[in-house]
């Protein structure tokens, strides 16, 4: 299995704090890879470095062999790496439909002048993209919310719309930062279902940060564990669960042989 994304020896500090230290992870194409770890372990920092919001002090990040370490977020999005945010970043004054159409921004071509001169062309392009967005709306079962401003939606639905906007990019890699944070059990199950379906239906590689250990162990192909900015374990969920270093990081010094499920 070849790696679609290689994170090689990456470090990043903020002021005097080493948020991430020499972390290396290869993300296999088409898999669901979870990054877990206690609060402050550096998980979101890793995600931010992949998506270009932060740049590593040392190390390299390669997407399909191309160095993307120092690209801007907008350039990385053009390479079809999409993401969601821990605290939801939607265009709250705009409708669900507009949010999803904006997700396809980089896939559309018409510029300022051309959209005035070749009005028809721009409209045709719009229609083609609208079709894909409608498919996603069906997929996420948000048909009745099309015209609603996202700011007026309930929390769980906003998370779902944000996933939809990321999917609208037709991503090669989907980065999800706590997609189930703050959700109730039913919403969590729905979201887990969507994530699995995306992975199965479109073969999208998914990198997931999540605190709910039950979900992580259920849906991930592989798990990497960070603690205090260091990678302390990596492997299949079953291997990671019994890894002594992981148990220690989560539970402190104890004799328990397994991280509690759920």
């Amino acid at each position: 299995m070849s790696a679609i994304l290689e994170i090689a020896d990456v470090s990043r500090s903020f002021g005097g704090v080493q948020a991430v230290q020499k972390v290396s992870v290869d993300i296999p194409r088409g898999e669901i890879m979870s990054i877990i770890g206690p609060n402050g372990a550096g998980k979101t920092t890793v995600l931010n470095m992949i998506s270009g919001f932060y740049h590593p002090d040392h190390g390299r990040i390669l997407l399909e062999g191309t160095d993307i370490t120092h690209l801007a977020p907008s350039e990385i999005a053009k390479l079809r790496v999409a993401r969601t945010f821990q605290n939801i970043a939607l265009f709250s004054g705009m409708t669900v439909l507009d949010n999803l159409m904006l997700g396809r921004h980089v896939l559309m071509k018409s510029g300022v002048l051309s959209s005035f001169i070749y009005w028809g062309l721009a409209q045709r392009e719009e229609v083609a993209h609208r079709k894909r967005v409608e498919d996603l709306i069906d997929f996420l079962k948000i048909q009745d919310l099309r015209r609603r401003p996202t700011g007026s939606l309930a929390y769980g639905l906003r998370k779902r719309v944000e996933l939809g906007r990321a999917l609208a990019l037709d991503p090669k890699i989907l980065l999800l930062d706590e997609p189930m944070g703050g959700m109730n059990q039913e919403e969590k199950e729905d979201m887990a279902r969507f994530i699995l379906d995306v992975n199965e239906e479109w073969g999208t590689t998914i990198i997931l940060i999540e605190h709910d250990m039950g979900v992580v162990m259920d849906i991930s192909d592989r798990v990497a564990v960070l603690d205090m900015g260091l990678k302390i374990a990596e492997g299949k969920p079953d291997e990671v669960r019994v890894n002594p270093a992981v148990v220690k990081a989560y539970l402190g010094e104890t004799k328990t042989s397994e991280v509690r499920h759920g």
């Binding site: 998506s51 919001f53 801007a72 977020p73 907008s74 350039e75 999005a77 053009k78 999409a82 993401r83 945010f85 970043a89 939607l90 265009f91 709250s92 004054g93 705009m94 507009d98 159409m101 904006l102 997700g103 921004h105 980089v106 559309m108 018409s110 510029g111 300022v112 959209s115 005035f116 721009a122 719009e126 700011g151 007026s152 906007r165 990321a166 609208a168 990019l169």
Partner: protein, 311 residues
């Protein structure tokens, strides 16, 4: 005659007795209002896209007009001068993004606001240095003549100015609502982080909005300059744009237009019909009092996005 009659009945009687004159007053108000609208429009564009309250918008109008006049005075044809001025405003947009906005990215809004105040003084000084401080007559080839229609005297220059402003507004509205870049602009206005994550480059967007604001400033500069000459007091119309923004809402393009018209027409009618009762000068304070009333009753403005707070 009682006070009530004096204030309410008298002026209305005057209006009724000479409707053609009233029409002239309203048209005059609309044309003045369009200028306020144009300046306010520049504010709104930049505020929407970058959250920056651009204090320098008024000076940008002046700077554009100065550049245009300066070029025409030095023998350039009107169209050449116009194209060159447009180019200057676009270069200015690039320079502002590079020298002011980019170094201050992620700073609190008040810092960016202060930076635009600095920009204001810089542009004022720079314009004066380049083109001199004298009052200049701007002649773009539209005759300053009047004609009669339906018993009203209408100025040809003002009429063309109004027409141009109206076209500009329609084009901008289409641009914002219907094009891909317009939608990207609205997205950036809504949430920077989210916009970046879907591949909208902030720097490009900033250059685009500052350029558009610069082009709007040229139109405003031409209209105002042709009417009352290009002079440094031009930058003060920025102060009139402020109540327009409060009235229309800081983030609304139609709000800027309607707000400008209401203030333009309102202050003219107030001045002509009610002015004599209080010794005149209503024109000077009408906009601000109206804005104050709006702040108390409807702080988001006529078209502003409703302020929703989630707890």
């Amino acid at each position: 005659m009682s006070v009530f009659q004096q204030v309410l009945i008298g002026p209305l009687k005057d209006i009724g007795s000479n409707p053609a004159f009233f029409g002239e007053v309203v048209i005059g108000g609309i044309l003045a209002g369009m200028l306020y609208s144009l300046v306010a429009l520049g504010f709104v564009l930049i505020f929407k896209a970058s959250g920056v309250f651009n204090f320098a918008q008024g000076v940008m109008v002046l700077f554009a007009a100065l550049t245009l006049v300066g070029l025409i005075e030095r023998g350039a044809g009107v169209w050449v001068a116009l194209a060159a001025t447009a180019l200057v405003m676009i270069v200015l947009a690039f320079a502002i993004e590079r020298a002011v906005l980019r170094p201050l990215v992620n700073q609190p809004q008040i810092i960016l606001f202060m930076a635009t105040i600095g920009l204001n003084f810089f542009l004022e000084g720079f314009g004066e240095m380049l083109w001199g401080a004298n009052v200049k007559k701007l002649d773009v080839g539209i005759p300053d003549r009047s004609f009669m229609a339906a018993g009203m005297q209408i100025n040809q220059l003002e009429l063309s100015a109004g027409g141009i402003a109206a076209i500009l507004v329609v084009v901008l509205a289409i641009f914002f609502q219907k094009t891909r870049i317009g939608r990207a602009l609205r997205a950036v206005a809504d949430d920077h982080e989210a916009a970046l994550s879907i591949g909208i480059p902030l720097k490009t967007i900033w250059v685009v909005v500052w350029s558009v604001a610069g082009l709007v400033a040229i139109v405003a500069g031409i209209m105002w300059g042709a009417k009352s000459g290009v002079q440094f007091s031009l930058s003060l119309i920025a102060l009139k744009a402020l109540p327009v923004l409060i009235l229309g809402g800081f983030e609304s393009v139609p709000g800027a237009i309607v707000g400008g018209l209401i203030i333009g027409v309102g202050e003219k009618i107030g001045e002509v019909y009610w002015g004599p009762l209080v010794g005149g000068a209503i024109e000077n304070w009408f906009a601000y009092v109206l804005a104050l009333a709006f702040l108390l009753i409807r702080p988001q403005g006529l078209f502003g996005e409703k302020i929703i707070e989630r707890v």
